[in-house]
Symmetry: C3
Subunit: 164 residues, 3 copies
């Protein structure tokens, strides 16, 4: 991310990204999960990785997709496995840092913490990390052309492979 | 929540709600607690409930009030019981999603996590969830005409019944 | 903090402080740590203290500095001790409350939670609290003329003395 600005164009982007991130988090936590792929462009790139792997430039990820169709398949798989409903999650996003806004594109970096709430049980930190995002504006608003989710811990529950 | 927009009117609302939420969280955590009812309109509706009960449409809540006077009574009761001072809390709010801003009203949905800090002890997640808010603007700023606090966990400490 | 406003001047400050806080948090978590002193003015005041000590007006702090040079020394000491690299951190900041914006200055108060991620281990709350900030604008953006970090817990790990 090269440059951050605060006037005019960037103000629009800041508020638009604030709202898109809020809407995204709500979709993950309160559903419907089927709406999740709509936050992305058709030709999107999406990856969940760990800070260690990200630093070493490793391509593999816990989830890896290079188009929206793959994200839709992921949702179907989760619904089928009935995994998603056993507990609930709460994503609290920190303040997004917006960079390089140009004609119809911008980047942002946003820290997050995801809590897992087990029914009648304890609440714990499920994951923390940051979203490295590339946004593209179309007629309806902004969509993610790229999201790389970099998880801080390497001890992330790979069985679940939930969207983040 | 029907529609979110980012230009003009909505920008004002976004920054106003960002500030009102920040001020509200500060009041809960750093006091004075007596100022808490002032965030609400006189004829406000306030409820703390659980995600389970909210989903099932149950009316009852851990705290339930349909006017500001009841919130003032709640504060007096807490001061009398001397419960509030035994530990401290820290509310970290996520990004608010603002919707449907009209002439003098708007809605928002805001995730939160509340930490409980026990003196010289551990810090733990006390509650997480989301605020479903209805704001009304008057001469002095914006106030809550309605706040429904939906806690993620059903295992919330009902003895305390602190404001959230 | 005396007055909060939302139009014109204050809007600029709000978005500028949102971005500065986001950039600051990223610097702490993802480095380079050497860039951390640049968020401050040359004649800055920086202190980490506890809520208990802050309430009692005690001057001493876990870290105390009254100019930027001392912050640079702190970074050198941490690099030398090689302490900073053993685990990672994730700061999630709440919504900043901006107050008293005047010609080139503003104040803000921002809640934070800092998570500590131990390699292949658990993630826990390392610290929570609030930033009491005084910002000054210069040609390149805004810098901290003062930051007082008030930690909620008194049981903070004094051996580390990491920047917050």
């Amino acid at each position: 991310m090269t440059k951050t600005v605060t006037g005019g164009l960037a103000m629009d982007w800041l508020s638009e990204i604030l709202q898109a991130q809020a809407r995204y988090a709500r979709c993950l936590d309160d559903g419907p999960l089927e709406a999740w792929p709509d936050f992305f462009t058709e030709d999107c790139f999406y990856k969940i990785t760990t800070a260690d792997n990200h630093r070493r430039g490793l391509e593999a990820g816990l989830i890896w997709a290079d188009n929206r169709r793959m994200l839709q398949d992921r949702v179907s798989a989760l619904r089928h496995a009935n995994i998603y409903e056993r507990q609930s999650y709460r994503h609290v996003l920190g303040l997004p840092l917006v960079a390089g806004p140009a004609e119809g594109e911008a980047e942002s970096e946003t820290p997050f913490v995801a809590l897992r709430i087990v029914r009648d049980g304890a609440t714990e930190v499920f994951a923390s990390g940051r979203y490295l995002d590339h946004w593209r504006r179309d007629g309806e608003g902004v969509r993610l052309a790229q999201r790389i989710v970099v998880c801080d811990s390497s001890r992330i529950d790979t069985l679940l492979a939930l969207p983040l």
